[in-house]
Symmetry: C2
Subunit: 312 residues, 2 copies
């Protein structure tokens, strides 16, 4: 990760303009969990890789992630990211759009540095799916009618596709056999889905329904996340009307969030959403059976625990 952090610092530079490293550093320098690069590195090492090319992959994946964050915050007009004012509120939306583009371009230069067309194929395919997920979310975010199929299509795009690309391409850089590449692909996909369900649960305080300080944002934005969709699917006439009003019409009143939580708890929607996250976590752990026991496999299993336990 030291090498990744050095590569991040180096590749955000521009010989043409100082504004790019300013904006990029504001977002990426601020940290974040660096979960995606860790996955790329760990996947390559788990497959026995001893070289340095996985550092390029890990950096590229972090750049793609941050490029989508920059553009998401512009698109969503968000004010806060990781507890700080978003880049577009600090620098304006023009630099945010263009520096996002720059990070995309840099990520492809980094992928070129891996020297593998196959790896480039995996990551560029993922980039397209990520953006398709974002667009689908744009058109389906406040709709209850798509149900679980659209929800999973969105989160596979916007979240799981990059996890999957990180671990699959990590294995490919290691020259791992097909079964290991597939195992790490499944691991990344399942972990990504579990991660996003847990994230969506957290917005309702997790399965315990105890609201944290940032909870309720999704509800206020009328997002049709999994807990809402599960509650809607088992709702009676009156509850369906409630969900349509608060989610689809975004006509919300005092006490609506508390009522939503009460319905989600009573109908078991929160517990079921958690069960879905647990099932995906189990799928991720099972995929690791393709590898012998050892510290790297254990680390990847720990990441699964970390990801779902956030929402407990």
């Amino acid at each position: 990760m030291d090498k990744v952090n050095a590569e991040i610092a180096r590749r955000m530079q521009s010989e043409h303009t100082k504004l790019i490293p300013q904006v990029a550093d504001y977002l990426i320098g601020a940290g974040g969990k660096r979960l995606r690069p860790i996955l790329a590195l760990a996947a390559a090492r788990l497959c026995g890789y001893r070289g340095d090319r996985h550092v390029y992959l890990a950096t590229a994946v972090e750049f793609i992630h941050n490029a989508t964050l920059l553009h998401d915050d512009v698109v969503d007009e968000s004010d806060l990211r990781r507890g700080k004012p978003t880049a577009h509120t600090m620098f304006g939306s023009k630099p945010s759009v263009l520096v996002g583009d720059f990070l995309f371009a840099r990520s492809f230069q980094l992928m070129v540095a891996t020297g593998s067309v196959e790896v480039l194929g995996v990551v560029s395919d993922a980039a397209a799916v990520i953006i398709e997920g974002e667009v689908l979310q744009l058109t389906a975010a406040n709709s209850l009618s798509g149900g679980e199929p659209v929800y999973f299509e969105v989160i596979r795009g916007k979240t799981a596709a990059l996890f999957e690309a990180a671990t699959k391409a990590g294995a490919m850089i290691a020259g791992a056999p097909g079964a290991q590449v597939e195992a790490l692909r499944v691991y990344g996909d399942a972990l990504g889905v579990a991660f996003q369900i847990a994230d969506d649960l957290l917005d309702y305080g997790g399965a315990s329904a105890a609201l944290g300080k940032n909870a309720g944002d999704d509800f206020r934005e009328g997002k049709a996340t999994l807990p809402v969709l599960l509650a809607y699917a088992r709702a009676d006439e009156a509850e369906r009307a409630f969900w349509k009003r608060v989610i689809e019409k975004r006509d919300q009143r005092d006490g609506d969030l508390e009522q939503a939580l009460e319905i989600m708890t009573r109908t078991g929607a929160l517990a079921d959403a958690r069960a879905r996250a647990d099932a995906e976590a189990a799928r991720a752990r099972t995929a690791l059976d393709a590898f012998p026991d050892g510290p790297l496999r254990a680390a990847l299993a720990d990441i699964v625990d970390f990801v779902v336990q956030r929402a407990y």
Copy 2:
């Protein structure tokens, strides 16, 4: 070009969302000159290429161009593009940002389809330089102090880099010898610079100073393009104050555009800008000397004439 148009139509599809082909088709389907894909195809064929992989390159280059147009129009809040309402006024800025991202991702999938890491390197390097040029333009657009060096840095980025990548990578796909790759690189760069100078001249009615219907937009936006910079460089005290007011402060009054044109004509700024375009056009034509006479070389020479004559 039929194959490129078919590839464009095919690659703008998305199995996840209909909004992407809608927005993409609105912009790309509307046409445009398709100059960049023509350059990529002609460069490959001029080097004797007989395969089909240059179609992927040509499509990728057109997608990158249109991705930057989508994002430019959002960044510049432009209302019209090619005489039609811009995509962001039709569909909103969110779809414009995301569909631009999608076209970037698709362009890299297309580059992967060429099967060449070297070609991917050329195009991903160009993508980074293009965006650096856009950012530099953002910070330097209304400044007279950067002078010609910053102007040429900006237009090399925002315009010439993609022309250069199209012709250079076209030669590389053909497996051309180094001297031919370099000749087509120089051709693309010189053509791109000539193209942008001509474009900037056109905004002042070309060297004839006869204003066309879309003329004066750059002036009203206070853009420090070459004619302005040349006039500013040879201005006396009073004229310097004029340029600082209208360009840097964007404090414009009735009659300012006419006065700008009068100064530019009298000081020879327009004629000199045209001379720079002509010099770049000559550099592009000379680069073609690396190739024997023939219809493809003649076609590339005709493109040079076409590009500069727009501004006569």
